[in-house]
């Protein structure tokens, strides 16, 4: 049980980093985010509705991202998420932490950091 929960937190942490990174450049809607993750990971990572949206809502509640309904002509309205300035700060620090972490793992395991 304990193991699983660590695993979960761990995943959750890196997933948050993924979502924030994807929203860095421009606002996107949920489906777009899930497609991008799938494409860029070449199918290795997949976020389904059940995990993606609760995570978005959580990030929104923390004030890191903000969702807004946007209606573009000829389309149904969609909820677009954009990074808040607070989210931008969190992203920067998470990214740094991640790099440090990866580098440390690399040094220990002997896998060269790209």
């Amino acid at each position: 049980m304990e193991d699983r929960s660590i695993d979960r937190e761990w995943k959750k942490g890196s997933a948050e980093l993924l979502l924030l990174s994807l929203l860095e450049a421009l606002p996107r809607h949920g489906y777009e985010i899930s497609k991008l993750i799938e494409q860029r990971s070449q199918g290795a990572l997949r976020f389904h509705v059940a995990s993606l949206y609760p995570m978005l809502y959580r990030l929104e509640k923390r004030g890191w991202i903000q969702g807004r309904w946007v209606e573009k002509s000829g389309q149904r309205r969609r909820r677009y998420y954009r990074l808040t300035s607070q989210g931008r700060k969190v992203l920067a620090s998470q990214r740094e932490g991640w790099q440090t972490f990866v580098a440390a793992i690399g040094r220990i395991t002997g896998v060269e950091n790209a």
């Binding site: 949920g30 489906y31 899930s34 389904h48 509705v49 059940a50 995990s51 993606l52 949206y53 609760p54 995570m55 809502y57 959580r58 509640k61 149904r76 969609r78 909820r79």
Partner: protein, 899 residues
Amino acid sequence: MPDWKEQIRKQLAGLKLAPTREAEIVEELAQHAEDRCRELEASGAAEAEARRITIEEIGGHELLAKELEAVERTDAPEPVVFGARSKARFLTGLGQDLRYGFRTLRKSPGFTAIAMLALALGIGANTAIFSVVNGVLLRPLAYPDPNRLLNIWETTAEFSQASVAYPNYLDWRRANHSFTDMGTYRGDDFNFTGSGEPEQVAGEYVSASLLPVLGVTPFLGRGFLPEEDRQGAPCAVMLAYGFWNQRFAADPNILGKSLTLNAVNCTVAGVLPRDFRFSSARVYMPIEQMNSVELRTRESHPGLRVLGRLKPGVTMAAAQTEMASICTALSHQYPASNAGRGVSVVRMKDDMVGYIRPTLLLLVGAVGFVLIIACANVANLLLARSAARGREFAIRAALGADRRRVVRQLLTESVLLALGGATIGLPIARWGTSLVLAAAPGNLPRSQEIGIDPYVLLFTLAVSTLTGVLFGLAPAFHGANANPQDSLKEGARGAGGGRHRAESVFVAVEVGLAVILLVGAGLMIQSIWRLWRVNPGFNTRNVLTTEVALSPQVMGSPAGIRLAYQQLLGRVAAIPGVQSAALTALLPLGESDSEIPFWPGTGPQPPQDRLKLAVSYLVSADYPRVMQIPVRRGRFFTERDNLNSPQVAVIDEVFARHIFPDRDPVGQQIGLMVLGPVRIVGVVGHVKQWGLDSDDTSKVRDQIYIPFLQIPDRFMTEGVAGVPIVLRTIPEPLSLVNAVRTQIAGPARDQPIYSVRTMEQIISGSLAERRFTMLLLIIFAATALLLAAVGIYGVMSYAVTRRTHELGIRAALGASRREIVGLVVRQGMKVAGVGMATGLVAALALTRLMADLLYGVRPADPATLATVTLLLGGVALLACYIPARRATAVDPVVALRCE
């Protein structure tokens, strides 16, 4: 295509989300599902397969619900548990109340605007008056430890505050142990010969000790040294900051430079700080520079004032006791001058502002009434609204909200209203303050210190919060007490009788307070009106007065001064439009006074305490002609009454009755201090020297006229620098000012004129304080009348609407229009009548407080009370009649159908 929304809603069912939140999530997720399903189909999956995969992804094993629950649950609104008193809950609740309050007020902009405007008027007016009171009465004087600064006066049988003889001041200063030091000062005008035309500048003679006593250090340079404050010392001078700025362009090297004052070269020793508000003088000179016999004689009291700083630990009473014993010793030592003279110490601030305190407090009371009336009006508006909101409260109560919560919500709303009113009220207050200052008597003490400071803002905040609670309380409790069943049952008609009672009470209070204010204003109007009609003893119309500074060239010799004045009067009298011209050392009803001690008969001068005092006028021969003061007996003096003829004097009728009740005063002899024996040659009418109102009650009323040409040489050079000239003109007096200026300036153009005023302006100035009070009371009373009328009108209009049904039935049963109007008007007038009666009783009690401000009218003046009753009654009648008229327009059929 399946209904994805339905699918997702099923998943979320167990979460019990707020409906709007649920709808949002459903929409977003359904879209995602739809996109996903399409994508799967596009990539070749069969429709059924694509659907299965999508459903799996959405919520296999209830994953979605679990994940969402973790996120959304913390977001759910906290259940409101009443009676729980944690601070956090209170703050959350307050936030809710505020948000809700804002929304409610925004929803009814008309109500909000009217209520805020009424409150803004009340709060603004109160803030304006408070900022005056704060600046004048409350703020301590701007000197270190100002409570230890005391004014020290001489006292006599006639005056509780008489100016001090310089030798007495010197003895006081030497002998006392109560004060760290004393200083003395006396205002005077100086003839300043700068680079351009000569001009008269306001100045002040001060002892070297005055600045240290005040605790003021100069902005530049230094104060006067003791050796500069000695007879015969070279003249030193200090400049006021403004004078240094304007006349010397703030020259930083001004120290040590020299300027010419009264034809004497004076060296600048220092510049006073910018905020030095001790006097309005522009230049200061050591008192010993006042080259005057009067300064050296113990008999003379040339307007010196004395200021002392109490030693730490010494009480005012102890200082008074010590000073009194010093005075007793002096009167034994110098009985001729000091017998009967006492001393009085008064806190400097009390002396400055004490006389205006009753006026300002009266205004505070009056403006407070205006605020209460505004509150009552808003309370009525809120009551009417709370009836309309009865269902809202009933539903809240039915859902379990307790009374406290509802009261709090309503109070939050009213405090919000009041704070909104305060926000609008502040600009009104600033504007009102400048209006008050513009209308204030010119001599309102400390008027430069009036402004909006943190204390004023704090006051406004406190007043508005208090106001909010005050006017919100009754409606709030009424709202909270609403019985859910009644309110929900009652249908279209308003709530029950409690509210109507409260409404009536509020209207009665408004009317009552309006009565008080109207009576106050009415009494002030009557006083001013009566004062204007008081005969001052001379003809005030078409008289121009101006002060003159003689050329420094003539100031050297007494004969030169006499000649200069005679020539000057001749030139002025020759101006076309000038009927006659005279000089006088004392203007009636002016700011100054001058008394001379005298004794009847031909004997030698008795001791000081047996001398009598008379107001003395040093005038030229044409004075009664200019002022049109009637000569009752004998003659006035002429140009031939000069140094070569026997000394003569003219007395007024009060003097004649007082000293010679059984004899003809003409031909009698009296003794005058300093001048010696004089023969009375005539009697003239009495002039109201001490003011139109207070002359009758003043202690020194005897008046004596002394010929200017008989003033002995040794007194000629002093005190004539700025003697007023009075002219009787045919055209409007001020139209001749330029001609007068040219003629007085003389061939060398070195005799400036200043303080040019008409006699009517002087009279008007003497009434300034009363007029100020009257003006503000009129404004307050008018506001009160308007608000009360609006209040009555509002309540009656509402009552008529409420009674539409009843009035319809009455009309259907045959009631005439007259009867219906009468019915409605009677209801309104009953309330107004109760208010008026209560108000009249209260006015009788309260206006007694303003008895000192009244003239010729008693506080319980029946005419004023009757006028106010009629005025307010008329306004109330009108305010009832208009809604009553509307009531008759009710069509019975329509009225009955609206059930």
